[in-house]
């Protein structure tokens, strides 16, 4: 085993004010380098040194570790006006040292990290928020213009892609929407059952689950699932296209990326969301039925009749309206973040995360607003 202290550095001072550094052993990063701090400190502090030379007769090997040390020594010598005699160093080391010091640092290239004071950071964040809001509004405006072009038949996108996206957002999302809605219905029923059983009113679990799922929970759960599944996908697709300059290529060819990329995605998701919501409602009620029949000993037909009695078409339409709105919001957020994406891999990650978070926040805010409106309208 080679001991890590195999490599040594000794400093000897001669009478005529010159310093001689003797390097011995095998200097290798793998084997650990002896701390040269003391030697460097001495070099920096001692007075009356006019020149520096090296003795490498006992040096058996070297690599970047030694090179780094020599570069530091060179820097100290230049700043203290000490003549450096490199002739004692091995040939290869001398050449590498010359290469490292050949091109001086470009002025202004080094980045300095300055941490702004707190208030400045708050101000910056506020301005960014304002800029972000403006960008979002501009995007919404562009989408509106694209919709206008669509209605007048002038929008240009590939029909095949629209149908492919519909399949992707709709049919392929069915399994996960069904599963999660089933479980949510189950949970709703379970939560209600415990309380209602105390009053012997467990039949009203059917109403609870029915109205809850159909009016709002079906739409919200579908919205959140699609935000994570499809909102993120849109952001990632469009973000990667940005990185690959594909969107630039569309633009310079006179094809509007809005028409070509964003419009089909918005249409596909807005059409598919209500359809998925219907499935979610159904699966939620089924979940409630499982709890009702399994845990509360309700009859299947009993449960069914109670559900049908408590539901009205109004609840159903409101639920579908919610889900259509969520479809617009999720696709809007996904596409917006994708188009805003920077030009690197990490930027795609940021865009995707932001798309999901923004979608979910928008969903919840929209739910609140629509609920208040429904309340005001008395429906």
């Amino acid at each position: 085993m080679v001991s890590p202290t195999d490599s040594t550095l000794q400093i000897r001072r001669t009478d005529d004010g010159s310093l001689r550094i003797a390097l011995a052993g095998a200097w290798s990063i793998q084997q650990g380098l002896p701390p040269a701090g003391e030697a460097l400190a001495r070099l920096k502090a001692e007075q009356g040194i006019t020149s520096l030379s090296f003795d490498c007769t006992a040096l058996t090997g070297w690599d970047s570790g030694l090179l780094t040390l020599l570069a530091k020594i060179t820097e100290i010598c230049t700043s203290r006006d000490i003549t450096l005699d490199k002739s004692g160093l091995p040939d290869g080391l001398q050449r590498l040292l010359a290469l490292a010091t050949a091109i001086p640092e470009r002025e202004g290239a080094r980045k300095t990290t300055v941490r702004d004071p707190f208030l400045v950071r708050v101000a910056d964040a506020t301005f960014n928020l304002q800029a972000g809001a403006r960008e979002a509004l501009t995007f919404i405006g562009d989408v509106a213009l694209a919709l206008a072009r669509l209605l007048s038949g002038r929008a240009r996108f590939r029909k095949a892609e629209l149908f492919f996206l519909m399949q992707n957002c709709g049919a392929e999302a069915l399994p996960i929407v069904c599963l999660i809605s089933l479980l949510v219905g189950l949970i709703l029923a379970f939560v209600g059952a415990v309380q209602l059983q105390m009053f012997g009113a467990q039949i009203y679990v059917a109403s609870l689950v029915g109205i809850g799922m159909v009016r709002v929970m079906g739409a919200i759960m579908t919205g959140i699932i699609m935000a994570g599944r499809t909102g993120a996908a849109f952001a990632a697709e469009l973000g990667t296209m940005q990185v690959n300059e594909e969107i630039d290529a569309l633009q310079t060819m006179g094809i509007s990326p809005m028409d070509f990329l964003v419009l089909p995605r918005m249409l596909a998701l807005t059409v598919m969301m209500p359809l998925l919501c219907v499935y979610a409602d159904l699966m939620g009620i089924l979940g409630g039925l499982i709890v009702g029949v399994g845990m509360l000993d309700l009859g299947g037909m009993e449960y069914y009749h109670q559900t049908v009695e408590s539901l009205s078409l109004t609840h159903f339409w409101i639920g579908l309206f919610y889900s259509a709105v969520f479809g617009v919001l999720v696709s809007l957020c996904g596409c917006l973040r994708g188009m805003q994406c920077g030009r690197s891999a990490s930027a795609v990650g940021t865009a995707t995360t932001s798309a999901v978070v923004t979608s979910i926040v928008c969903i919840i805010v929209a739910t609140a607003i629509i609920t208040v409106i429904c309340n005001v309208l008395g429906i």
Partner: protein, 254 residues
């Protein structure tokens, strides 16, 4: 329509990202039938200059003229009309990854011509054959190599036989033989179609083989320090940075 003015004139152009100025006071003219080279050290803003010329980034100051039309002052429809006469080869091809090569090249043809799909696929096959990719019509960009992607991108840039072609580092990543073939193709495009070609590159072999006009951007002084025929620049330009660049460091003095 023959135009008496040069295809592209750039005057006092300043390129900046916010307050950070990349290059300033760029003034040059691309003449009809030129193979114009934009060159300079790394990070000097060559690709950014290209983006300013094709409508992807607005100049901080200065003008870009296509013929006699001020590009950035024109309305979007006018800019679209100008861009229709332009073809661009992006650095890695920028092929649309969800479409096959044939669909990629067919896109501009479908958009701007009234040809039927049979005629379009004939032209597509021809363009692919011209760049040496005959038979690869139904391949997706992810299924072909980097060099092939570039050639497909070139086929797409040439789809409408444009008057002006922009190439962003066309030989980067190509083996010497492919790079030579690309150079030959560029000269053919100029000779047979009469296209004006602007190339961003730092491949010396290509610069001397095909370039007849150029601009040299310097990242330190952030402006252009030389222009004109690269071979004349090599013989006559006294600036050491230009000489070092054009001789690959043979006369190295900083």
């Amino acid at each position: 329509m023959p135009q008496p003015e040069p295809p592209i004139t750039v005057s006092d152009l300043t390129m900046a990202y916010g307050t950070y100025v990349l290059q300033h006071d760029l003034t040059f003219t691309v003449n009809r039938g030129d193979i114009f080279i934009i060159m300079g050290g790394s990070g000097c803003g060559k690709s950014t200059l290209l983006r300013h010329l094709v409508g992807l980034k607005e100049p901080a100051k200065g003008k870009v003229l296509y013929g006699s039309t001020n590009f950035w002052d024109a309305d979007p429809d006018e800019r679209d009309r100008i861009m229709r006469r332009v073809g661009i080869l992006y650095q890695s091809g920028a092929l649309w990854s969800s479409m096959t090569l044939a669909e990629n090249i067919a896109m501009p043809l479908k958009e701007y011509t009234s040809l039927n799909s049979g005629e379009i696929s004939e032209i597509v096959s021809l363009k692919l054959a011209l760049v040496g990719l005959a038979g690869f019509d139904d391949y997706y960009p992810s299924e072909i190599s980097g060099g092939m992607k570039k050639r497909a991108g070139l086929a797409r840039a040439m789809a409408l036989d444009p008057e002006i072609l922009f190439f962003d580092e066309p030989s980067a990543g190509l083996d010497p033989v492919s790079a030579k073939q690309l150079d030959d193709l560029i000269i053919q495009l100029r000779d047979s179609l009469g296209s004006t070609i602007v190339v961003v590159t730092h491949e010396l072999a290509s610069i001397f083989a095909i370039g007849n006009n150029s601009v040299f951007l310097d990242p330190d002084s952030k402006t252009m320090i030389a222009g004109g025929d690269p071979k004349k620049m090599l013989k006559e330009c006294p600036d050491p940075k230009v000489q070092t660049f054009l001789t690959r460091g043979a006369t190295f003095h900083i």
